[in-house]
């Protein structure tokens, strides 16, 4: 490993490489807040647009797991460089995508590049920071923070510019990572050769996979709920979901002081509790949502670093163990997405119908004129129909068009009715959140059963 830059320059180079790692992890969830905009632009189905998220995670999982038995034969710096080039090109392609199939294809390529950059970056960061341990810690920090901050970052970029800005933003991060890698001469990092078996890292990786599956609830479902059902703008939604990364960062000092097994078990319990909190949301309550997301974030900040530390087993080879853990995490994400997507697809339309019926009941019983009741109800039906075609329903519009701004009784009815609809549809996500909580509970079980291997 020939890395001879002065300290400050080396830290800067390590920071740029870590930023590329963070963005590759963030990419698992970064487009979630842009899904409604993508849906509207490409005139597709829910399943179609969901592939923009799923394709990336499947590609990372398949590529990483496919490389587990091969990656030790390659030079890690070259693996990372190849990953950065592929990721950079695919990010530009995603930003320029003119139709959905092209975007999904580019996301597959992007996921392949991400897997290569993630597995190659571990030894590179070790070389740049001067020790394997410091490189591993930086990789874990970048991964945890990147995953947690993904939706909020995507939300801000989508609202400030457009969904294309998400991918346009990633390209320079990848380019800077590539320049840092080339400038660092870390490409001299040699291949690791065959090492001890990775079997002993399996329990920690199973835990990580399960926890990443659980995070689908906090990173995907909660975000969609806040934006698509509660009607917050992407930036406002990003502010709400930022409770998760902030709590994850706040929990880091606590994680370092706790015994490792307690940190893992406590983290899994907090994540599970936060997800139960999201499942039991009684209405569109930002307070309860922030509270729940903060618990999820604290759980993430406690459990993931310890498990990552165990999964990245130096004696088994950093690149190999990194490859396995990247694959395991994304398998967990894909598995949870595969379970939750059909569950949600079956629950939401029925909840929408129930919400519309309740809204009509509120309207018919409201102290407003007959000339407003039925027309507003029918316009609400139109708003729901357009939402099913991919738009976020504007529930206030039918009221405003019939004079709610000057009719206090109609305005009061609107406010009551919007709350009723949001509460009804919010509950449609309940079973999906419970499934995610079960993932976290399963991780807790694995951690307890394999406690020696999980924290060794």
């Amino acid at each position: 490993m020939s890395v001879a830059q002065p300290g400050v320059e080396r830290r800067l180079l390590a920071g740029l490489v870590a930023a590329a790692v963070a963005i590759a992890f963030a990419d698992s969830s970064i487009v979630v807040l842009a899904l409604p905009e993508l849906y509207g632009q490409f005139h597709t189905t829910i399943e179609g647009v969901a592939w923009v998220v799923t394709a990336y995670n499947v590609a990372v999982a398949v590529t990483a797991l496919g490389l587990v038995l091969l990656v030790h034969r390659f030079n890690a710096a070259w693996v990372m460089a190849a990953g950065l080039v592929v990721f950079l090109g695919a990010s530009i392609a995603c930003a320029l995508a003119g139709y959905l199939e092209f975007l999904i294809g580019a996301r597959v390529v992007q996921g392949t590049g991400a897997a290569l950059l993630l597995v190659g970056s571990l030894p590179v960061l070790g070389a740049l920071t001067g020790s394997v341990g410091a490189g591993r810690r930086l990789w874990i920090l970048a991964g945890t923070f990147g995953l947690a901050v993904g939706p909020a970052l995507g939300g801000v970029l989508t609202e400030a510019f457009s969904w294309r800005a998400i991918f346009a933003f990633q390209a320079p991060v990848a380019a800077l990572g590539l320049l840092a890698l080339l400038h660092s001469h870390a490409r001299a990092v040699a291949e690791e050769g065959w090492r001890e078996s990775l079997v002993r890292t399996l329990p920690a990786n199973v835990c990580l996979g399960l926890l990443f599956g659980a995070l689908v609830g906090a990173l995907f479902l909660a975000v969609l709920l806040v934006i698509s059902v509660w009607g917050y703008s992407p930036i406002a939604g990003a502010a709400i979901v930022s409770a998760l990364p902030l709590a994850a960062i706040a929990a880091r000092p606590l994680e370092r002081r706790l015994p490792r097994l307690i940190a893992v078990c406590g983290g899994a319990m907090l994540l599970s509790g936060g997800l139960v909190g999201l499942a039991l949301l009684p209405s569109a309550s930002v307070g309860f949502a922030v509270w729940s997301l903060a618990l999820c974030g604290a759980g993430l900040g406690l459990a993931i670093p310890v498990l990552s530390d165990t999964a990245l087993d130096e004696s088994s080879g950093m690149t190999r163990s990194g490859t396995l853990t990247v694959g395991a995490r994304h398998v967990g994400l894909v598995l949870a997405l595969a379970l939750i997507a059909p569950l949600l697809a079956s629950k939401v339309p029925a909840a929408g119908d129930r919400a519309l019926l309740k809204a009509t009941a509120v309207l018919l019983d409201a102290p407003v004129g007959l000339d407003k009741k039925v027309p507003v109800a029918l316009d609400l039906r139109g708003a729901f129909d357009s939402a099913q075609a991919g738009e976020t329903p504007d529930l206030a519009k039918p009221f405003d068009e019939h004079g709610a701004k000057h009719d206090p009784a109609l305005a009061a009815t609107r406010n009551r009715l919007v709350g009723t609809i949001e509460a009804t549809i919010t509950r449609a996500s309940r079973s999906s959140f419970f499934v995610c909580a079960l993932f976290a509970a399963a991780a807790l079980l694995v951690a307890v059963v394999f406690r020696r291997r999980v924290v060794s």
Binding site: I262, M269, G277, L280, S285, A377
Partner: protein, 156 residues
């Protein structure tokens, strides 16, 4: 060292307790209750407002919708959402003719109920019945007919 560990464990216990407090607060806020309102059975009478001509007409129309929904084995809300050719929530099992007949029958019945409550004078009932058989029924339900229109039709 031991003090730091105890402090860290105490914080973890507080965090876990806050998770339990969250769930308790949500349950107290009605997390397990179905959000109001409940969809009423249209075949059972429900309380309505009285007083004033407009309020009486509105109650007659709403009770008429209940009667029609009861006849068509659906809810008042689903019936309303099926108006205007939008198709409603799900494919319904009635034809336009059956809907028209059910609405008129429901309205005739609700006029009789209004008479029994004393909301409508008895001498007007035959004329209103006659008007209900002639008026464009959906226009009435959408509130597109004014009282003047209605009185004009009763006079015809």
């Amino acid at each position: 060292m031991k003090g730091r560990l105890t402090f860290a464990l105490a914080i973890l216990i507080v965090l876990l307790a806050s998770g339990l407090a969250l769930v308790a607060a949500e349950l107290v806020s009605g997390a397990l209750n179905e959000p109001a309102p409940k969809i009423a059975n249209p075949c059972e009478p429900r309380p309505g407002r009285t007083g004033g001509i407009d309020t009486t007409i509105q109650r007659v129309v709403l009770d008429g919708l209940d009667g029609a929904a009861c006849r068509l084995h659906t809810t008042r809300e689903e019936l309303v959402l099926s108006l205007g050719g939008g198709g409603g929530l799900s494919p319904h099992h009635w034809t336009e003719q059956q809907l028209d007949a059910a609405l008129r029958a429901g309205l005739l019945q609700s006029v009789d109920m209004a008479e029994q409550r004393g909301d409508i004078p008895g001498f007007l009932v035959p004329a209103i019945h006659s008007a209900i058989k002639k008026i464009p029924i959906e226009q009435l339900i959408r509130g597109g007919l004014s009282l003047q229109d209605l009185l004009g039709r009763i006079g015809q």
